[in-house]
Symmetry: C2
Subunit: 298 residues, 2 copies
């Protein structure tokens, strides 16, 4: 099992071509949707009283265990954002944390033997508490955002020193390490603890660091991007999911994971919200993986 | 033989760490330095009376045929530019065209049977005249810059319709096609004539288009970037050089060429001006190619 925490939210996303309102979103939704193609996922999160029953049922139907999802008094996390014409720049219009503001992850006993643990973006102190609720057997991954790099650096370094893997984007890596060079940044972060570091670069692919070395991967070349929301979390879902299937961290596994992360991220961009992922099947994932393998074989 | 035209210049490059003044530069210098690892290069270009003899001798010593390089009355092309702290943004301080302003490429008879022809950035009318001085046997490649996309679009489309390959960067591709999506842009350009299109993305690698399809390649991950000057021209030298060795355009050859282009571009960044390329040998190229092959093998 992959035990994961993160946000479940309702997204209002305004693109130049279409606006979708209060659709299922949040890092944990994308992550678990994608990771569930690779392993059973148990989610630890929170929703409010307004959370639509259909989304709850949808996640359950996908096989995501929701025992760890609290239904608290108040509103579900809501994120309203607009994309620029080229879909590269996103502007936040409103971020209403609702029940997420006071969320404390409580891990159900049934999850505690999970072999793989993923602590999505949150206050690093809460990430650490989350990770510590699991036994020694786990391979653990964390994510973060600029806010915590700027405001909770000490706590972030602490959780980094205990995590096995760290997934972050290029802006965050540069900020954390104070260097524009991503290879330097990744090696620095690797030296702070995590056995595996992935720096995501969106449409430009990713860099993976392990055992003192680095590998670069292109993103899956996409002609039709409708909505990049959740692409990074979908990448994490494919990446962590693939490694969970391996049960350990190795270069061969990390390369496969980076490609499957890119593949899942590419699908996420091809529909509004989770729309493309809803229609996804394993055969389509395998096809993109094979395309990728052929593309990079020399 | 690869017959190539482009600029030979003197570069003054100001980086946050070091400034180099009036060192050998220009697109043709980088291109031919790199391409000469793969095939004999015959250069068609121009220098002024102030061009240092040592640079002439250096290019000759590298095996570059300079029969097609005119020594004209006036000053050698001089480009003075500064890089930002992170080495990503370059500002032009002065562009003194000198003898390049009135340059008309004249191809020596000895070059006219060249199997591979490369027309570096220039007015597209002059590129077309250059290409037409060769026989039917040639595989031809061109490059361009934003200036000609904005001001000589019709002539550029004309030369594109006659060229076998087109090498350009991401900004140029978006501008030429009026779309932010590089996969769409590349396919559009491919449909305008060239059998092979390469969109260079600097540190993010490149996209290659051929036969209606697309492949993405990461750049070689570099920890130490000293001076990105000439990286794109070095990429072109490795790319065209590798294809010249094949003698034809195929997917297998294009993939190898994209990697060898990335490898040559990576070396160019590791020294000021041509410094790193001067110390380069075939074994080092092979090593990076092998690293790349291993990095992307799944």
């Amino acid at each position: 099992m992959i035990a994961a925490t993160g946000s479940i939210g309702l997204d209002t996303t305004r693109t130049p071509f279409k606006t979708v309102e209060r659709v299922l979103g949040g890092s944990a939704s994308y992550f678990s949707y994608c990771a569930s193609f690779f392993d059973k996922v148990g989610l630890v999160s929170v929703v409010g009283e307004d959370f639509p029953e259909k989304y709850w049922r949808e996640l359950e139907a996908k096989g995501v265990d929701l025992k760890g999802v609290q239904r608290n008094k108040g509103k579900t996390f809501h994120f309203d954002s607009s994309f620029s014409y080229d879909l590269y720049a996103r502007t936040a219009n409103a971020t209403e944390f609702g029940v997420l503001a006071s969320f404390e992850p409580r891990v159900p006993d049934e999850y505690k033997d999970a072999k793989t643990v993923y602590a999505g973006t949150n206050n690093p102190k809460i990430q650490l508490e989350f990770l510590r609720q699991f036994g020694k057997q786990k391979v653990s991954f964390i994510d973060t955002i600029e806010h915590f790099i700027a405001n909770d650096r000490a706590a972030l370094l602490r959780v980094l020193s205990e995590a096995d893997g760290f997934v972050l984007n290029d802006v965050e890596a540069r900020m954390l390490c104070g260097t524009p060079n991503l290879v330097k940044a990744g090696k620095k972060i690797h030296s702070l603890g995590p056995e595996a570091v992935v720096i995501k670069k969106g449409e430009h692919g990713c860099l993976v660091f392990h055992g003192g070395g680095v590998c670069a991967f292109p993103a899956f070349p996409l002609e039709e991007v409708l909505d990049p929301t959740g692409a990074g979390d979908s990448f994490a879902g494919g990446f962590v999911g693939s490694l969970a299937r391996d049960g350990k961290i190795s270069w061969a596994g990390l390369k496969r994971a980076a490609v499957l992360g890119s593949v899942m991220g590419s699908f996420a961009c091809e529909g509004y919200g989770l729309d493309r992922l809803r229609k996804l099947d394993e055969r389509q994932i395998d096809e993109r993986f094979e395309f990728y393998r052929e593309m990079t074989s020399l």
